[in-house]
Structures are given as C-alpha cells and as structure tokens.
C-alpha cells in the first residue's frame, strides 16, 4: 500500500497522541485514585427500599474517625435527605438509589456525579477538605417537573459538626405547688462520646446538668421545678444543649380541675393534654 511520507508521519503522530491520552487517563485513575462508580453493591428492589436498613431512613452515619456514610434516595422530584450535612476534612461515601426512574445525584461544580438507576445502588467516596455549601441537582431527565429536583450539601467546619439530637418532653400546665418536670433526651449518633451540658432556663431560674452521652446512645435528664417558686401564670422555658435549643411555655394555674377537669399532678406521660413534645433533627439551622 502506497502511503505518502507526510501521511505516515501524521499517522505516527496520531497514534502517539492517542496513546498519550490513554496514559494520562490511566495515570489519573491509578496514581491519583480518581475512581468511577462500579458494580460493588448488590441490586435492590425499589419496593424494598423502605425496609432497607440503610435507605429506610435516609441519613448520614459516622462509620470511622473521619469517615461517614450518606444514604440517599432520589425519587421524582426530590432527594432524601434534602440537605446532607457532613464535616470538613472527612471522607464520605454516598450510597444512592432510586425509588422510580433514572435520576442523577450531582454535586454542582464538582466531579461528585453519578447516575442513579432503579434497582442499583451507586456508591461514591468523596473527600471534603474545606467547609463549603453545594447544590445537588438531578441532571438526568426524570419527568415533567425534573427541573425542580434539587438538594443541598453542607460541608461544615469540624468544630461545628455534630450528630446530636435533642428532644424535650415537658408539662404544659401544672397546678400551683406541684412540680413541673422536663424530660430531656440527648442522642449522640457520632462515634465519640459527647460531653456536654444540658441547661434549662425558666423564669429566673437556670438549671444545669453535665451529661456524657456515649456513641449511638441517648441520655435522659429530668429537671424538676417547683411551680410555687414560679408563681401563677405563663412561664417561657428553654432547654439548650450546645447549639440546639427547644422552648415552650408552662402554665401554672390555681386549680387545674376547674379549667379542664384534668387530674392534678399529671406527669404528662402519654397524656392527651397536649404535651409539649419536640424533636429536632441533627441539622443545624444557621
């Protein structure tokens, strides 16, 4: 076959270029560790997602000192959880699956990007060095409101990150001279034990108690306040644990029975008299 000299040179140069491209890409994957989504995870039926230990409750879990796992569901037209919060300087593995059609889980402006196919679980391990806030979008057309499907990824400074949950159960009303009780539950979903102080402010009083909550445990603290010290009327109260806050109002009355026929001294357990039950997720809301 007759090939012109220039053509031969061009052919050789082209092959060198191609091999060069392949070499740089290979270097990126092998030496720099830029890996792709693979087939490590077994399949999952979309109907079984709700019963799955990971996806039943979409969330972030701590699995190592600076290692976290995020279980995320994409469905028309939302991500669950809608906001994912992780600490800076951590390594997060995302497990993402779909409840219905093909979506994507794409952290805007980054290479954290995967297709989400029903039946499959996408896994991506990402290192977050600096605090930042990112948008998450679905970039695969998934139906007529595809353009509304978005979420958030907050990488917060390490010292501001925790996985604490605060829940307070308190009386709404007590008869004067009875004790008002505040049951405070502090849950710690991090691996390290949480040492903190639970504080209750009511009227002029401040009650404090130091607690240590072990990993994956919930510690309960009960504050008792003598309503006689508060006096008759409405009293605002606040329970604080680190950055978390719960508040409500306690009514101290002369004679409760006259007002609504309730038993006096009701502890409020399982009561139907509107216990002030609150529960705040681990998300900070700054």
């Amino acid at each position: 076959m007759k090939i012109h000299t220039y053509e031969k040179l061009w052919l050789v140069a082209s092959l060198v270029l191609i091999v060069g491209f392949i070499a740089t890409i290979t270097y990126g994957s092998v030496a720099l560790g830029i890996t792709m989504v693979g087939d490590e995870e077994p399949t999952i039926e979309p109907d079984e997602i709700s019963d799955d230990e990971r996806f039943g409750e979409p969330r972030v879990e701590q699995v190592g000192e600076n290692e976290y796992e995020a279980y995320v569901i994409a469905q028309t037209f939302i991500f669950q959880p809608e906001t994912i919060e992780v600490p800076a300087d951590s390594e997060v593995t995302f497990y993402v699956t779909s409840r219905d059609v093909i979506h994507s889980f794409s952290v805007v402006g980054t290479n954290t990007n995967t297709m989400v196919i029903p039946g499959e679980i996408s896994t991506l391990t990402v290192e977050f060095d600096e605090p930042d806030e990112y948008g998450i979008v679905c970039n695969e057309y998934c139906g007529d409101f595809h353009h509304t499907m978005e979420g958030q990824l907050h990488v917060v400074p390490e010292d501001e990150f925790d996985m604490t949950e605060l829940a307070v159960e308190a009386d709404d009303e007590v008869e004067i001279d009875d004790d008002a009780t505040f049951e405070v539950a502090v849950e710690n979903r991090q691996l390290e034990a949480l040492e903190t102080t639970v504080a209750l402010e009511i009227g002029d009083e401040t009650l404090e108690e130091d607690v240590t909550v072990d990993s994956q445990m919930t510690e309960e603290t009960t504050f008792t306040v003598d309503s006689a010290d508060l006096g008759e009327g409405d009293h605002d109260w606040t329970v604080t644990v680190d950055d978390y806050e719960e508040s409500g109002t306690l009514t101290v009355a002369e004679d409760l029975e006259d007002e609504d026929g309730n038993e006096d001294g009701d502890e409020g357990d399982g009561g139907d008299d509107g216990d002030n039950e609150t529960d705040e997720e681990g998300d900070t809301d700054e």
Binding site: M1, K2, I3, H4, Y6, E7, W10, S14, L17, I18, F21, I22, I25, G28, S29, L32, I34, M36, V37, G38, D39, E41, P42, T43, I44, E45, P46, F77, D100, V101, I102, S104, S106, V108, G109, T110, N111, N113, M115, V116, I117, P118, G119, E120, S122, Y134, G135, V137, N139, E140, Y141, G143, D144, F145, H146, H147, T148, E150, G151, Q152
Partner: protein, 577 residues
C-alpha cells in the same frame, strides 16, 4: 447543455429529492423547537409551560438526529451509489418500499411525540431521544422507531443488491470509493442497530404494551448505548463522504488518497460499536474495568478522524495550488471562499476539529465525571451533529439540489451568508454551553437555575451565558430558515444555467495503490463482530446476572398517562413545591 444528475438518472433523482424533502421538513420543525428551548431555558421568552419543554425537547432530538440526518443520509447515499456505480437500483419499487417504511415509522413516532402537546388525545412520548426506561412512552412511539429502522435496513440491502448486480457486470473491479463508503457505513449500522432493535422489541415494547411487568433499566440503557454511539457515526459518515468526494472537487482539485479513505471507513466498522459504554461511565452496576476498555477503544476511534483531517486538508491544499495558491499558508487565500458549498463544508470541518477535542474530554473517563450530563454535552453535540453534520448537509445541498432538480441555485450570495451565519451562531451558542457545563449547569432541563444555590462563574455571569445561548440559538434558527427558503426557491427556479459539472475527478492516489484486502467486506465484518463480542458479552452477561433480564421488579413510570402527571402535580403542590 447541462449535464446534471437528474438528466442522467431522473428516477433516482426523484426519490433522492423526496428523501431530502422529508429531511428538510424535519429540519424545519426541529429548528423551531430548538428556538423555543433556547429562549425558554434562558428565561427570555416562555411561550410554553415548563413541563411542555420536555415534549419540545423530545421532538427536537428525534426530528433532528433521527429524521433530518437519516433521511438526508439515504438521499446522499442513493446519489453516491447511483453516481459511482453508474446504474440505478435493481428494482425501483423496492427502493420506494424502504422509503415508504422509513416515512411510516417517522409519522408514527412523530404522532406519538406531537400528541403530547394536547390533552385531547391520550398519547404522548415525552421520553426524549434516549427513551430511558422506566420512563415510558406510548407504544406507537416505539413501533414507529422500529419501522423506521427496518426501513433503513432495507435501504442498505437495496444498495448491497445494486452493488452485487454491478459486480456481476464488472468482474474483478475495485469497489468505487463512494459505494465503498456507503456499504461500510451500512455494515456499521447493521451491527450497531441490533442493539436498539433488541432493546425495543424484546423489552421496551412488550413492557409498554403491558405483556411484561418489569424491566431492567441498566440492560435497556446499555443496549441503547450499544447503538447510541455508532448512531453518531451514522450521522457523521455521510458528511465524511461529502468531505472526501465533494470538498476536494469544490476546492478545485481532487482527493489526496483513495486508500486512506478506505482505511478510515473500515476503522469505523471496527471501532464504532465497542465503545458505547463510554456513555455509561457514571452508571452503577457496570464494573470499572469495562468502562476502562470502552475508554481505550474510544481513544483509538480518534484515529480515523485524525486521518480524515489530514486527507481533507491535503486535498484542499492540492485544490488551492491548482488554482494558483502559493506559500506555506498563502494557499488558503486561493480557495473558493465565495462558494457557499465549499465555505460551509470548510467551516463545518473547523468546528468538527474543535468539537473533536471536547469529545476527547468526554471520553476521558475521570474528567467525564465533571461534565457528564451538564450543558457541556449538548455543547459538544451541537458542534458535532449540529454543525459538522448539519452544516455540511446544508452546504452539500447547495451543490446537490441543482444536480437533483436541474435548477440553478437561487441566491448564492445569501447562501454564503447563511453558512457563515450558522458558524457564528454555533460559536456563540456552544461556547456558552461549554462554559455553562463547566460550572455544573445541567442539560435537558427547562429551568437550569435553582432556588437553593447559585452557580459559581469564574468569569462572566449566568445572565451572560443565557444571553449567548439565546442569541446563538436565534441566529441558528434564522440561518435554518434562510437555508430552507433558498431550497424552496431553487426547487421552483425555472433557470437551469449555470450548474457545476457533476463529474468527480479521480484521486491523486487511486484504489490501485491499496491492497485488494481492503475491499474484503466479509473480513471486516468478522473482525468487527469479534471486537463487539469482546467488548460487550461480559458486561451484558454481568448486567443480566445482576438484575435479571426483566429487572429487579421495576415497574413502568408512564409519561403518557395524563392522570399520573396530574397526581404528581397535586402531590408536589401539597408538599409545598
């Protein structure tokens, strides 16, 4: 006395005109939809509700990359076969038969798509050109696609039949280059379109009718991309044919090398198909190793395009020197820049070279994660099929339509303006798309700006990017309309002088310089089959063993039943969206 194609082959000219007519109607509708999208997603003019955007987008994709391109392909290929074998098909009724099938298929799919605009008919197919299950369109949409593809298969069979008849009359002769290009393209098409045929016939169609309950979305998606990458070469190769056959002649010279042209087309048979997984770098359920293999194959697919760049530029230089061009680069001035057919193809080639490099970025699997499904990708598509192919087709039409009608081209100066306008429009639109993609703006969305975050634009602003997309899109629409107006005027033009001579000069280095093995099509089919088996058997087996043939109980998500979308709307409103 003119010597045009229509004088020599009036019957063949008639069917080619018909194919071009169908192609141009699709171009008109697709371009109009493109304009709506460019103005909608940039929030400049919203003539439709955002959910309707996806009906428009489906139409834009299907009408342009299936109907416009492939009807043009069959027209050009019928011309190339007839001209180079110097004979018509064995039986013209068969030829009209495949054209009729392609048209029927198009009408069915078009009906399913366009019915999405009205609630009066309970039919729609807002599933986009890729129709990823479990999104489900109306069965008519899938039936239409299948009928269309069968039509193209028969077109290929017709050209093979014509060639075999010619071979009988011309024993021992080398296959003429244009026919060689047609046959190799069709071999590639047969190998690759099996993927989409299996995806539709075995899985998606029975599932859309309700015969089977569940589907394996990874499997149908993989079968789609088995076809989805070669289909881009199915759009591109008719443009290549025109660059190899027409462009050297238009430059005033002849093709540099016939043997290299054959090698290029053989490389496309071999390498077009075993690369489809490079569209699935981000898919779960496919091992990284298969993705790596697809990446290396894809990189080697650069070779035929790099060889084409050499041959085409060398042919142009040869032509320019024949016209008196001098110097290292001075010859560029001697090219016929006032000729719209030449200038259009040359500009298309330039854009293609640029788009090729963005394609390398896409092919690089680790960089792909940054741009996958971002606006970068339609930027790439619009430089490639939207310009390398579309602009070459339009420019080629300025030369071909007079040959097919016997009518002189109307408005040569306007035609020159039209191709330059396209070039300007595409540069403006795609540069903004590429940049938008790099900041993470998604493709395929009615509203790329979100409530919860803002894009971080290094230079410029989102408003400026939007303005460029809208402006570029508008220029492209205007350019398309000018092109179509000139085509209509030429069709009804009574004048027949002057029309370029239709003879194609012989290449500088002819087929005698290449070994006859290049023409051994069976050999290339066999090697291509081996490569396809190597690249696909294990991934497909793995996908089936993971999710089963019909998937892990994945039901449909119909986008054609109106109540479902109403329900979703209600739910969305109730949860405060």
């Amino acid at each position: 006395m003119s010597n045009t194609f229509v004088d020599a082959y009036p019957k063949q000219a008639r069917i080619i005109r018909q194919a071009f007519l169908t192609s141009f109607i699709a171009l008109a509708i697709g371009a109009f939809f493109g304009l709506i999208q460019a103005l909608h997603r940039t929030n400049i003019l919203r003539a439709i509700e955002s959910p309707t955007y996806y009906t428009v987008l489906t139409g834009h994709g299907v009408f342009l990359v299936i109907t416009f391109t492939i009807f043009f392909l069959v027209g050009v290929y019928q011309w190339a076969v007839t001209e180079s074998l110097e004979r018509g098909p064995v039986d013209m009724r068969f030829t009209w038969g495949w054209y009729g099938l392609m048209l029927t298929g198009t009408m069915l799919a078009a009906f399913a798509i366009l019915a999405g605009f009205t609630d009066a008919i309970d039919v729609s197919a807002d599933v986009l050109f890729t129709f990823y299950a479990p999104l489900q369109g109306h069965p008519i949409f899938y039936i239409g696609l299948v009928v269309f593809v069968v039509g193209t298969w028969l077109a290929g069979a017709d050209w093979f039949r014509t060639w075999l008849a010619w071979k009988g009359e011309n024993p021992g002769k080398r296959i003429p280059l244009p026919t060689f290009m047609v046959l190799t393209t069709m071999i590639m098409w047969y190998i690759s379109s099996i993927g989409v045929a299996v995806a539709i016939l075995a899985f998606i169609l029975p599932w859309s009718i309700g015969i089977v309950e569940s589907i394996n979305p990874t499997l149908t998606r993989t079968l789609f991309w088995y076809f989805g990458h070669p289909v881009v070469y199915f759009w591109l190769l008719p443009a290549y044919l025109m660059w190899y056959i027409l462009l050297p002649k238009l430059s005033g010279g002849r093709l540099f090398s016939d043997p290299l042209a054959r090698v290029v087309f053989i490389l496309f048979i071999l390498l077009s198909t075993p690369v489809g997984i490079h569209h699935q770098y981000l898919d779960p359920g496919i091992a990284e190793g298969f993705k790596y293999i697809a990446m290396t194959n894809t990189m080697f697919l650069l070779l035929p395009s790099l060889l084409t760049a050499f041959t085409v530029v060398a042919s142009m230089e040869h032509g320019a020197r024949q016209r008196g061009g001098k110097g290292y680069f001075g010859w560029l001035k001697a090219l016929p820049w006032r000729e719209p057919a030449f200038t259009g193809m040359a500009l298309a080639g330039m854009v293609f070279a640029f788009g090729g490099f963005t394609g390398i970025v896409n092919a690089g699997m680790n960089i792909n994660y940054l741009v996958h499904n971002s606006l970068w990708v339609p930027g790439h598509i619009h430089t490639q099929v939207g310009t390398a192919v579309a602009l070459t087709f339009m420019a080629g039409s300025y030369w071909l339509i007079p040959q097919l009608t016997g009518n002189r081209l109307v408005g040569r100066g306007i035609a020159l303006f039209q191709v330059v306008l396209w070039f300007v429009g595409i540069v403006i639109m795609t540069n903004a798309m590429y940049r938008g993609g790099l900041i993470g703006m998604p493709r395929r969305t009615a509203e790329p700006e979100y409530e919860g975050f803002n894009y971080e634009v290094a230079a410029g602003s989102v408003g400026e990017l939007n303005a460029q997309v809208a402006l570029g899109g508008t220029l492209l629409f205007v350019s398309t309309m000018i092109f179509l107006a000139l085509m209509i005027l030429t069709l009804f033009n009574g004048e027949s002088e002057p029309i370029d001579n239709r003879t194609i000069p012989a290449p500088l280095s002819g087929p005698e310089d290449s070994p006859p093995v290049l023409d051994n099509l069976k050999l290339w089919v066999a090697i291509a089959a081996v490569l396809v088996v190597l690249a696909y058997v294990i991934p497909l087996a793995s996908i089936v063993s993971r999710g089963g043939l019909f998937g892990p109980d994945i039901g449909p998500f119909p986008v054609f039943v109106e109540p479902v979308s109403l329900l979703i709307e209600t739910v969305l409103v109730s949860i405060g969206w």
